[in-house]
Subunit: 214 residues, 2 copies
DNA sequence: CAAAAATATTAGGAATACCTAAATCTTTAT
DNA sequence: ATAAAGATTTAGGTATTCCTAATATTTTTG
């Protein structure tokens, strides 16, 4: 069983490997705020679990499984951190802190849905979300929808946190079905139907909402 | 130091106290999926920490501090659960599961901001959010409903995952309209009407379902 | 190329949280 | 009222994860 604690070690090892090529006991210890002896002990355990390759006195590297696990956690951290900043209004420092805890408990599904909401082009290859994460996503802006057809909201495009929050508060949440009722000429508001009610939305806000193609 | 684990115990004790007046070792053990012996051990620790009042063989109750802490966690659970459903599109069961983990790591600030997004409509005193939260959605327990009047299910109160899942499976989902058809004497089941059908529900299950205070 | 310095590991413990089995206390039923 | 049943606690262990001190290995440097 891989505990949150072990996940933390894995993540540190990933970061160190990325930055330095190898992860050394002392460096891990420093980053984890733990004694070197504790690190050695944990390395043995992780090696036994097949997550790292560990040679005494020689530092460690991740096995493919270990790498996959670490990447997954790292992705969730990124997603959570952005979400906390963009949607829950936290500053970078606080968001990072909280993301360090969230990364261990966030379900794949929730992470994926957070991704849809923040929709920024920042995290590239994301193991959690697969291909439909944050990069080159297809989708149609709500304001370009033809009248009538029902679509599902795919994601909200990060532009301005305040607007995102407003949209969510109104009910524009990924996964929901929506259809365009009518469009005024020029740049007036557009009328949508979602659930039981009609909603008017300004063009500029509507342009932040992307729905599934087709 | 109060770990997430201890917080879980505190929360169980709160729920049992609310439902039954006292929290007994065996009940706690059953809800936590842990041996009675482990519970006894933990109760000693919690008592030592001043969070509960514990008299051997006599069950426990929360001290003011313990109560405050348990309430705070409970509030965060409710907020996280609703947020996961309303914003991240999770179904009740999955949202509940994940909220059980989130409740321990969610910062006050994030919880408050979640409230702002989801809780604009329903309000009252929540220890985390102060005045503007969703605590007051807690209207009336289903088993206290007068015969006849139609109400909407507001939420299901966390007590035990199995029961919650059972209720959901039967169809007790927030938002649905329900009315009390008849009540047997004593502690027998209660008959409700929901949609096209009548449903019998035990008192203890019914007490977990809250409907809007008209 | 050794000795000093830096790094890493082993040894021996501590705290938390869990378990089973046995003992003890309380409740229930005859 | 008392013995059986039920609930709770104690005793004795296990697994994780952390610690300090002592030991071993590697690297650096005079």
């Amino acid at each position: 069983m891989v505990t949150g604690n072990r996940e933390d070690y894995l993540l540190r090892i990933l970061r160190l490997t990325e930055a330095e090529g190898v992860a050394k006991t002392t460096d891990i210890a420093a980053l984890m705020n733990v004694s070197a002896a504790s690190v050695t002990e944990m390395l043995r355990v992780l090696a036994q679990d097949g997550l790292i390759i560990y040679k005494k006195y020689r530092g460690v590297s991740l096995t493919p499984e270990g790498m996959a696990m670490a990447k997954r956690i790292s992705d969730k951290h990124q997603i959570a951190e952005r979400f906390l900043m963009d949607v829950l209004n936290k500053d970078q420092g606080a968001a990072h802190e909280e993301a360090c805890k969230m990364e261990h408990i966030l379900s794949d599904e929730s992470a994926k849905n957070m991704c849809r909401i923040i929709g920024a082009a920042e995290v590239t290859e994301c193991d959690v979300c697969g291909s439909d994460c944050l990069k080159n996503r297809s989708g149609v802006q709500l304001n370009r929808l033809p009248v009538g057809g029902e679509r599902k909201i795919s994601y909200l495009k990060c532009d301005d946190h305040e607007k995102i929050r407003k949209l969510i508060a109104i009910g524009f949440v990924p996964g929901r079905s929506i259809s365009l009722v009518s469009r005024t000429t020029n740049n007036g508001p557009i009328i949508f139907r979602m659930g039981e009610s009609n909603i008017a939305l300004d063009q500029d806000l509507a342009s932040l909402v992307f729905v599934d193609t087709e």
